[in-house]
């Protein structure tokens, strides 16, 4: 008989993310509502985040303070930066012949 272990997915609560990023939970909630942060809602209506949320929140703040972008623009910039990361990784893996 195979045994199945209950594995808790790695996810962070709204409060944890807020503490780790030094932001007010309401602001984090607002970022989630603006879809700047990926989040899931459980049956009780609680918000859950991926561990990368803290790094993304830092990036959001840097983009906002450094380039005075509004939140709509930040969403676009985050998406574009992610796409560039993927493309650059592809270019790197294709350049195998030295």
């Amino acid at each position: 008989m195979a045994e199945y272990l209950l594995v808790r997915p790695v996810r962070l609560s709204l409060e944890t993310v807020a503490v780790q990023s030094g932001l007010h939970p309401e602001l984090v909630r607002r970022f989630a509502a603006l879809s700047l942060l990926e989040s899931t809602t459980d049956a009780d209506g609680r918000l859950w985040f991926t561990p990368s949320a803290v790094a993304i929140l830092a990036r959001i703040q840097r983009l906002r303070s450094g380039l005075s972008l509004n939140y709509a623009a930040i969403g676009l910039v985050l998406d574009l930066l992610d796409r560039i990361d993927v493309l650059e990784a592809q270019v790197r893996s294709q350049r195998r012949w030295t």
Binding site: S65, S68, V77
Partner: protein, 303 residues
């Protein structure tokens, strides 16, 4: 900061407020640490932000023009004191930060304080630093052997690292130096510094993943009769047996002689036979080739 604010933004001392704003916006987009992972970018970004903070404020700009780098130490009421001989302080209106003015609206009323504040001075809570990326150029031999290497990253504050390179790193692989990236504000964690490995092209070795390809030049008689010839590889010289009847293009595989692999099987080394002929055969050699030509019925184009 040592750099002149006008130089930092690349504008003339006579530049208009518009020109200053244009130069700043352009540079800020280019050097923002989330857009530009270069280790020098963050420093440059701070420099242009500081320059803009001063030059976009008419009062501060006037002061900077007059007193240069020490302008901050000059009291606000310098002129009053000078004229009044120290007495009769006149209070300048403090408020009215030039904030919204330079931004032409549309930016949710962010003022310059906001622009710099949270990011560098720790206001508005700690923000973790951005990750940075730098290239680490290695020769094929260095990538093969690995080992320690001292690396300096240029910039106003030059940084030096002793990096341990694992043997068998490949082009494009990233070495992570935790906590060596952009500085966080407040007591937030710094970002990481990633060194992206670039393996320099080698005149003899060509890399394909972990496999190394190398040409194996042989004489016509070695190719026909077979021979054991030495080949230099990154791991040292090895002897390769060329089987009799090897034409150009035949590949000899030396199992495990390619790039080492810290996590498993090393790559292979492929030596590719290339038949070379003497450019200027001596008289006797020529005679023998002529004799061979007369005797042989080998036709390389027959198949």
């Amino acid at each position: 900061m040592a750099t002149d604010f006008y130089d930092a933004l690349g504008v003339a001392r006579t530049a208009s407020a518009d020109e200053i704003q244009r130069a700043y916006r352009k540079l800020a987009r280019e050097y923002h640490p989330d857009v530009n992972a270069d280790p020098g970018a963050e420093e440059r970004f701070k420099e242009i932000s500081e320059a803009y903070q001063v030059l976009s404020d008419p009062d501060q700009r006037k002061k900077y023009d007059r007193f240069g780098a020490d302008f901050r130490r000059v009291p606000d009421d310098f002129d009053e004191r000078a004229h009044a001989g120290g007495g009769g302080r006149v209070r300048y209106a403090q408020g009215g930060r030039q904030g919204g003015q330079g931004f032409g609206g549309g930016f949710e009323g962010i003022d310059i304080e906001d622009l710099l504040g949270g990011f560098f001075r720790g206001r508005g809570g700690p923000v973790a630093g951005a990750d940075q990326e730098a290239e680490l150029e290695l020769t094929v031999d260095e990538a093969y052997r690995g080992g320690r290497r001292h690396l300096t990253l240029a910039g106003a504050a030059e940084r030096g690292y002793d990096v341990t390179i694992p043997p068998g790193v490949l082009d494009g692989q990233r070495i992570r130096l935790a906590g060596q990236g952009g500085t966080g504000s407040g007591n937030a964690a710094p970002g990481d510094l990633y060194l992206v490995v670039r393996v320099k092209p080698h005149p003899r070795y060509r890399l394909s993943g972990r496999d190394i390809h190398v040409d194996l030049p042989v004489s016509p008689w070695e190719a026909v009769l077979g021979a054991t010839v030495p080949v230099t590889t990154p791991g040292g010289e090895v002897k390769v047996r060329v089987t009799p009847g090897s034409s150009t293009g035949r590949r000899l595989r030396l199992r495990g002689e390619g790039m080492p692999n810290p996590k498993g099987k090393p790559g292979d080394l492929y030596a590719e036979v290339r038949v070379m002929v003497p450019k200027k055969p001596r008289k006797r050699e020529r005679e023998l080739f002529e004799e061979l030509a007369a005797v042989s019925d080998f036709d390389p184009r027959s198949s």
